[in-house]
């Protein structure tokens, strides 16, 4: 569960990233955060990941108070999150398999569990035929699928995908969204940010949060649930 109450994020240079955010996201939901570029979607994800600390207000992620979290707790929290970054952050020079298991190596999985989970996830994202390919040689879409596989293979409680449809056409975007949604279960929440609101117009059984008045200025940023 994620709870934000009167949450503010102000960057060191004075830019206001988020203003008065109030929301509750229960476990096991698919959540879309929509809004144009620069509206604060990524800032919100950074707070969830502990990459930034709240400037004011209150935020808990999976039961952790993000205002008072120490490094040790933050590392533990991050092990429960499966992040899919805009730039994927894959390890260059390594194979698809190596990239997928890197996030599981330090978790409480046995060697065979790691292998089984990784192989199953790679198959599920449709890259089983490229399991030993070096990620540098893959297409944009394939690299994205590797990033998704890395995030979900370790069975996180929270999957965060930052603009996964950013550089894709409509069909591929919908495929990726379907894939991400498929990882939702009773315990796992999936949060997806996108500026392409038209892609989720017909979505049911989800939470949609709009970042309103999403200009570069974040003066009027607020979140509301549409579902």
């Amino acid at each position: 569960m994620i709870i934000a109450n009167k949450l503010y994020l102000k960057y060191p240079d004075g830019t206001l990233g988020l203003k008065d955010v109030n929301l509750v996201i229960p476990s096991g939901e698919v959540v879309y955060i929509t809004g144009p570029s620069g509206s604060g979607k990524t800032s919100f994800l950074k707070l969830l990941m502990g990459m930034e600390s709240p400037s004011d207000g209150y935020l808990t992620v999976l039961g952790k108070d993000m205002n008072n979290i120490n490094n040790r707790e933050l590392r533990r929290l991050r092990r429960s999150i499966g992040p899919i970054f805009q730039d994927f952050k894959l390890l260059d020079g390594r194979t698809v398999y190596e990239n997928v298991i890197i996030g599981m190596r330090f978790l409480d999985f046995s060697k065979s569990e790691i292998q089984n989970l990784a192989l199953a996830t790679i198959k599920r994202v449709g890259l089983d035929h490229k399991i030993n390919s070096i990620v540098d040689n893959l297409s944009y879409g394939e690299r994205q699928r590797v990033a998704i596989a890395r995030a979900v293979a370790r069975r996180p409680l929270l999957i965060i995908a930052d603009e996964p449809t950013g550089n894709l056409d409509k069909d591929n975007s919908l495929n990726i969204l379907d894939l991400l949604k498929s990882f939702k279960d009773n315990n796992t929440t999936v949060i997806i940010t996108t500026h392409a609101t038209h892609l989720i117009e017909d979505e049911q059984d989800c939470i949609k949060i709009n970042v309103l008045n999403g200009k570069m200025s974040t003066e009027e940023v607020s979140y509301e649930s549409n579902c």
Partner: protein
């Protein structure tokens, strides 16, 4: 610990990747460190050899007593035996004296053929306790009929001076080597971290524990210094082998410690030191990048 054991293969593959990212710098660092450790090994072996020579001379501490022709040598001998600190005496006649010198000088002893007669005088070889050399020489010199007492105290004193100098030099070199190794190792680790900062950042975002992120870099530092230590040992083996063979050929009267013994000692010292310095240097490098 379970995670470290399970990921041993991964850590070593990571070292390979880190080294490959900046291969030339790593190679140059290993070469530099090898020469630094070689210098250190030379000093250690030099010190060891001198120490061995001092012990050998001390064990063989003796004085040579020359006497006038018109006196009975056995009377002098019996008086010498009564002095405290005398271990043994041996009467050496002219022929034995020449034979001893011929053995010491080797091929150079052919010069004796130019003499019409044996140029050596008989003498009494007196084995003594080294720490009493001064009083013994004084008492023997005062015996009637004794013309000259020759001791090797000066040589011993000089060797002890050299040994002290080597010890001091060794200490300075150990300090210099330690500092240089720490700087080189920590620098190469910093460089490795800089080149891998994206990967390190990704691992942190995935919640990797710090030891998991740092271990490949610490192992890289260790591998680098231990490899340098091994290379310096190979260089020392070649150089020391040459020095031993030359010494045996041209200065056979100099007693050297056993080659295998000295090599084993230096290998243990160098590897121990390279391990410790590699570990400390890597930790320094990691600590300085935490800021």
């Amino acid at each position: 610990m379970k995670v470290i054991v399970r990921n041993t293969g991964y850590f070593f593959r990571e070292i390979k990747t880190i080294v490959k990212l900046d291969l030339l710098s790593n190679i140059f660092s290993i070469i530099s460190l090898s020469f630094i450790f070689f210098l250190l090994s030379l000093i250690f072996s030099g010190g060891n050899i001198v120490e061995h020579m001092i012990t050998a001379i001390e064990d063989e501490a003796q004085i040579s007593v020359y006497y006038s022709d018109d006196i009975d040598v056995t009377i002098i001998g019996s008086q010498i035996k009564e002095i405290s600190g005398i271990r043994d005496i041996l009467y050496i006649d002219e022929t034995e004296a020449k034979a001893e010198m011929t053995e010491i000088m080797g091929e150079e002893s052919r010069i004796f053929e130019l003499f019409d007669h044996n140029p050596f005088d008989p003498y009494i070889k007196v084995k003594i306790e080294l720490d009493q050399v001064d009083t013994i020489v004084e008492e023997v010199s005062s015996i009637s009929g004794v013309e000259l007492v020759r001791d090797n105290k000066e040589i011993l004193d000089k060797l002890k001076d050299i040994s002290s100098l080597i010890s001091l030099l060794g200490l300075l070199i150990v300090i210099a080597v330690s500092v240089a190794t720490l700087i080189i190792t920590s620098h190469i680790i910093r460089q490795g971290i800089y080149l891998n900062k994206e990967q390190i950042n990704t691992l942190r975002l995935l919640g990797a524990p710090e030891y998991f992120i740092r271990l490949p870099f610490i192992l890289e530092g260790l591998l680098m210094t231990i490899l340098s230590g091994l290379m310096s040992n190979i260089m020392l083996f070649v150089v020391l082998k040459y020095i031993y063979s030359q010494t045996m050929s041209f200065l056979p009267f100099i007693t050297l410690p056993k080659f295998n013994g000295i090599m084993t000692l230096i290998i243990l010292i160098t590897l121990g030191l390279s391990f410790a310095l590699g570990l400390i240097g890597s930790l320094f490098g990691l600590k300085s990048t935490n800021k």
